[in-house]
């Protein structure tokens, strides 16, 4: 590298080996410094993007906690009138005849079902074959008039919102050999 090469001479002017080396060393140094500056800049950008992401994640986590806390409020507010109705039913039970109370309780249940329906809650159908994706078998029993492997009866209704199973229907499944 210390040899003089015509190509390294700037503007074709003849130059001594030392100036030439100095010059290329200067140039390399400048380029190194540029590269270092670029690198530092890029690293700083990277760090800032990473830190921004980290802060974003923290913010989202904080917001999620808040949303979670608040999301219940809307539904709960809708449920309060049902609680009132239940209190009225209890009050009525002390003073009135059973038939009237029964009617009131049934209406209260309808009101509750309506609130849930407005939130997209649907009852899971439990007719036909047992489906472990939406049913949970509590026991099997011989059941007359029900095909084996089908739901014999529901012990606890199941509910879904869209595709999400809130709670599987708890069922008794007709036994395989039940029909024989």
């Amino acid at each position: 590298m210390t040899d003089e090469h015509p190509e390294t001479a700037v503007d074709g002017e003849p130059s001594s080996p030392s100036t030439d080396a100095d010059r290329s060393a200067d140039e390399l140094l400048a380029r190194l410094q540029d590269a270092e500056r670029d690198h530092e800049k890029a690293m700083d950008d990277l760090r800032r993007v990473a830190a921004d992401f980290d802060n974003y994640r923290k913010r989202v986590a904080r917001e999620q906690t808040q949303i979670l806390a608040r999301s219940g409020e809307r539904v709960v507010a809708k449920l309060l009138p049902v609680l009132d109705d239940l209190e009225r039913a209890l009050d009525a039970a002390e003073h009135h005849e059973e038939v009237k109370v029964l009617e009131g309780v049934r209406m209260t249940k309808d009101a509750l079902a309506a609130v849930l329906a407005s939130e997209g809650v649907e009852e899971i159908s439990a007719d036909g074959p047992f489906d472990p994706h939406v049913h949970e078998a509590l026991m099997t029993q011989p059941a007359e008039g029900v095909e084996p492997g089908h739901v014999a009866h529901v012990i606890q209704r199941g509910y879904r919102i869209g595709d999400a199973v809130l709670r599987p229907a708890r069922v008794v499944v007709a036994e395989e050999r039940g029909e024989e």
């Binding site: 700083d44 800032r48 990473a50 472990p132 049913h135 949970e136 492997g149 199973v165």
Partner: protein
């Protein structure tokens, strides 16, 4: 770069996690659960079910529903004679003497069945991450021998996963708490009380490598036993009250178990809980309800014997490791049952040390596996090593209030800017008082530096716009810059060592802020009220000067009087008085407001007003919240 997931392949439940941006996240399964039952079922119509659906159909299909397969992994048939009798499915001897599960005449090796669980986890992880998953770190109990570890690896292979490493469960738990990062050698006791198994392990960490010194446990002790103890009590109480035995009623039992688990969980945070099961059963006389109260003390009494069963194995593990309890540096809790305060107390009592908390004990092993996966993949975060600012940063604003620009625990480097204004007419300079700390009031926080921004052009208060920006670089050096957006003048300060606080200092400052919180809040409220009242007096006075001729002389006099009263009240620092006087002024100023409003309406139909009037007043109001800058008026008024 494809992600590597961490999988806790458990006896009862499995869990998976992944590092996202250097932080572990638990991956929910397709059904939305954060853990997946380790159950595989082969239905009569030839379907294969894994997870919750498999568990739900268990009673209809007990011989073909495989759970607890982990107990058979890598075991010889003659080693598992006891386990075999507990499970309802058939366990046979394979050609090489291994235990095999037989379903409809077909033999399955335990790794094949575990692979079905892993396959579901893998598929759900791919759906969650939106990319193929090929690599995983899987955990096993520390006591697993080579054959059991190999079997686990095989399960991964069958599921199409490249198992980068098999990690011991207690080691993963320690990793989840970052105990490998403490830099010194230490001993760790991991207490794992899960759904059906109890494991205790003693680990030694040296040169960043974990070594299992001893393990012990009880293969048939877990949360299920605790639930059963509560159910037995409920059904005994019910029998005593009502003379009816619920323990033979399957449907009632189901409700009892659910109520027991719920009560157990509730008693981890409350001292007493009500167990309410209306219509639990019916007799010819009518429906019967179960209504019981369970206290934490009673629960401890009911489960005392179960808890005592953890003592022997723990002591034995310590003895086998050749260690005295006092030599244990850290205690880590794993498994949902360790949420129970009595369990935590038992552990503290045995070891004499508070256990680590914070990571969900159901997920801590999967989280640790994900961290190990990240380390193996050389995660980005290790290269970048981002720090957080330990305390909030801000400036002092009008009334001695600290206005935060950067909240504590913000990851750095970060930058934040906000625009402020002047508090006085023709204010020529503002002082930027840089503060650090958590109190609402400047006086309870630490001063990092102060500087003046001078040369603000004469303008009504609230008009100049001064942008204050905070920039904390990666080294924690804080650059505060104030710029007058009107003149372009700027001034800055560089503060080093703003985050060079020791942990003790940080916690001291946070505690101090808490201890002054009430006082600070009161002062903040006072400052806000003063600012509002002062602003109101100022605006009203200004509007009065302009629209005086439109008012009755008596109204104008009243307003002037009320302005005086507000200003007098401002001297007293009496919050109630200031608010009362401000309200009185507002009422008195109503005729004036009407005059201004009428004027503005008139103006709106004609040419715009020459200046200020209603418009200017509005602007000032807008800025009022941000108004700031030093109440030291002497320093600022020319």
């Amino acid at each position: 770069m494809a992600k590597t997931i961490g999988i806790d392949l458990g006896t009862t439940n499995s869990c998976m996690a992944v590092l996202e941006g250097g932080e572990p996240t638990v991956i929910p399964n397709a059904e939305g659960g954060r853990t997946t039952p380790s159950v595989v079922a082969f239905t009569k119509d030839g379907q294969r079910l894994v997870g919750a659906p498999a568990r739900r159909q268990q009673v209809t299909n007990p011989e073909h529903t495989i759970f607890s397969i982990k107990r058979f992994m890598g075991r010889k048939w003659d080693e598992v004679s006891e386990e075999m009798t507990i499970v309802p499915y058939a366990v046979e001897q394979g050609e090489n003497g291994d235990a095999r599960v037989s379903v409809e005449g077909k033999q399955y090796a335990p790794p094949e069945l575990s692979a079905m669980i892993l396959q579901k986890l893998r598929a759900d992880a791919e759906a969650f991450l939106g990319e193929p998953v090929t690599d995983a770190v899987v955990t096993v109990p520390a006591y697993f021998n080579n054959a059991q570890r190999e079997a686990t690896k095989d399960a991964g292979k069958i599921a199409g996963l490249n198992v980068l490493r098999i990690v011991n469960e207690p080691t993963a738990a320690a990793l989840a708490y970052g105990l490998d990062k403490e830099g010194v050698d230490q001993t760790i006791l991991v207490f794992d009380l899960g759904g059906g198994t109890f494991d205790v392990s003693v680990l030694e960490l040296g040169d960043g490598v974990f070594e299992v010194k001893s393990t012990n446990g009880d293969n048939h002790l877990g949360g299920d036993n605790f639930d059963k103890a509560i159910v037995d009590w409920m059904s005994a109480e019910f029998k005593k009250d009502q003379g009816i035995d619920l323990s033979q009623d399957k449907m009632a039992l189901q409700r009892l178990y659910e109520a027991a688990e719920k009560a157990k969980i509730e008693l981890s945070s409350t001292m007493t809980t009500q167990i309410n099961l209306p219509f639990i059963t019916a007799t010819p006389e009518g429906p019967k309800h179960l209504d019981l109260q369970l206290t934490r003390a009673k629960l401890q009494e009911l489960t005392h014997d179960l808890l005592e069963r953890t003592v022997g194995p723990t002591k034995q593990a310590l003895a086998d490791a050749g260690l005295d309890a006092s030599k244990i540096d850290h205690v880590v809790l794993v498994g949902g049952m360790t949420r129970m305060p009595a369990v935590q107390e038992k552990v503290s009592e045995l070891i004499g040390k508070e256990p680590h908390k914070g990571v969900n004990p159901d997920e801590v092993v999967a989280v640790g596996a994900a961290i190990q996966a990240g380390v193996l993949k050389g995660d980005v975060k290790d290269v970048l090593l981002l720090d957080v600012t330990p305390l909030s940063l801000g400036i002092e604003t009008k009334g001695g209030v600290m206005t935060k620009l950067i909240e504590r625990n913000t990851t750095i480097p970060t930058r934040k800017a906000e625009t402020f204004s002047t508090a006085e007419d023709n204010q020529p300079s503002v002082e930027i008082h840089v503060l650090q700390g958590e109190s609402e009031m400047a006086t309870f926080n630490k001063t990092l530096g102060k500087f003046q921004l001078v040369g603000i052009a004469p303008a009504p208060r609230g008009m100049p716009q001064i942008e204050v920006s905070f920039d904390i670089d990666a080294n924690g050096i804080i650059h505060v810059n104030a710029k007058d957006l009107g003149t372009g003048n700027e001034q800055q300060i560089r503060i080093e060592g703003g985050s060079g606080l020791s942990e003790d200092e940080v916690s001291r400052m946070v505690t101090e802020a808490e201890s002054h919180a009430e006082e600070a809040h009161r002062l903040h409220e006072l400052a806000d009220s003063k600012n509002r009242a002062e602003q109101l007096a100022y605006q009203t006075e200004k509007a009065l000067a302009e629209h005086r001729e439109k008012l009755d002389a008596s109204d104008a006099g009243t307003i002037e009087g009320r302005i005086m009263e507000v200003r007098q009240a401002l001297e007293t620092n009496d919050l109630a008085d200031i608010n009362a006087k401000a309200t009185a002024l507002e009422q008195a100023a109503q005729p004036l407001a009407q005059a201004v409003y009428a004027d503005a309406q008139q103006a709106a139909s004609g040419p715009p007003p020459s200046s200020d009037g209603g418009g200017a007043t509005d602007e000032v109001v807008e800025d009022a919240d941000y108004e700031v800058i030093d109440e030291d008026e002497a320093a600022k008024t020319p």
